[in-house]
Symmetry: C2
């Protein structure tokens, strides 16, 4: 009898409702750059990150909490917010003890969809906190949804590669009957030795490198450089100790 | 200046509306088994195939046209229809000169979505007619959408592999800025030497092999064994001479 929990990979927010997530941990993945920035801010001592789904809500919560407002739309800093979505903007000297109120094109949207659909638990994942995510998923022994934020609902390579990295490491702890997961694992296995070289072909790499953000992206695919576990609790992402 | 036409891969019907298909050729891909069966019936001399999106409509059109009604839901023959969705059911001795009225779980649904959204041209593709599809796409010099029928809107490996096979062969004729296409090409390049071995892991392989349909699936990934081009014209798929 197979008693392992299940694991599925969702390649676009548009496909989330095909899955029953009510008994699952949902891992929100937005490699370029929201979930990499979240891990980094928390690793560098941010008290909490409030992920919000609109710019007006971001500004409003910034006022209420005294937090730093930050966000991007289409890869650029949004007018009216104080900071952008780059992990390099949040060193310890700046972010320690602060609240970050963050809105982004894709990642924060998927997080709110997972909330609305009653996910049992929500965490965020990215290469900078790969090990923390894997350790948590193995220890919880619950069903898992690896949720790729994608780009405006279109499939993207970088989020899929992160899902593949998780499956490569801990897939054997789960029962996997999911073509998306098989593909993601294969894609990662094929390219793990040269993620930067492969991702230079990706549409999002082209988009962000046009803004001079190559360094950001190289950081965002660096494994375990901000190895904390952001867990969504009462409206905030905080570090699970 | 880049004047090549564009090529995109759509991984699920649920994602079709993210693309402007009005100036594009849409290739409907349903490897297991609708588009393989369509190619085979036409290769074996069927006068035409009428793809319909519901069982009642299939029965109605069968009466009007005197055609053979056929179809499946969830991989099984539908009650009330004469035949199933297996290419082996349509040898020349049976199908020559006949009209086949066909309804399936995924492929015929996507075809009607592409029609409703105003595709410029619609053809069907599968490994049995890979070369005919590639030759047509190169000669037309139009934008291309490779439309994977998927399984109840969930990503599947076999349709993605066919998209990858097309891109591997003729991708250099197109301008490709599409992560789905990069992934599909990579997946095919990695597994083209052993498609059967790889697809044995796929969820649809498990589903259909439980009905004893392994032989069907091996046929469906055989290249150019029914090498005709089904083109959608006035409600029918007919062979483009």
């Amino acid at each position: 009898m197979n008693t392992k929990p299940s694991l599925h990979t969702v390649l676009s927010p548009r496909l989330l409702d095909l899955y029953d997530i009510s008994n699952s941990i949902v891992v929100i993945i937005d490699v370029f750059r929201a979930t990499s920035t979240i891990a980094t801010a928390l690793y560098n001592g941010a008290a909490k990150v409030l992920p919000v789904d609109s710019v007006p809500r971001c500004i409003e919560l910034g006022k209420i909490t005294g937090g730093i407002t930050a966000g991007e739309r289409d890869g650029k800093v949004v007018e009216g917010l104080q900071h952008g979505n780059s992990p390099t903007e949040y060193p310890r000297s700046f972010i320690e003890g602060q609240t970050l109120v963050l809105t982004t094109t894709n990642g924060t949207k998927l997080l709110h969809m997972a909330l609305d659909r009653g996910a049992a638990n929500i965490i965020t994942g990215s290469f900078p906190n790969l090990s923390a995510v894997c350790d948590y998923l193995v220890n919880q022994e619950k069903n898992v949804i690896l949720g790729c934020s994608a780009w405006k609902d279109c499939f993207n390579l970088e989020d899929t590669l992160f899902a593949g990295a998780v499956i490569e490491r801990i897939g054997h702890h789960f029962s996997i009957h999911c073509d998306s997961s098989l593909m993601a694992k294969d894609l990662y296995a094929q390219h793990q030795q040269d993620l930067v070289g492969f991702l230079r072909k990706a549409t999002h790499w082209h988009r962000l490198s046009a803004y001079g953000l190559e360094h950001d992206m190289e950081y965002c695919i660096s494994i375990d450089v901000a190895n904390v576990l952001p867990v969504y609790t009462n409206g905030s992402l905080i570090v699970q100790e």
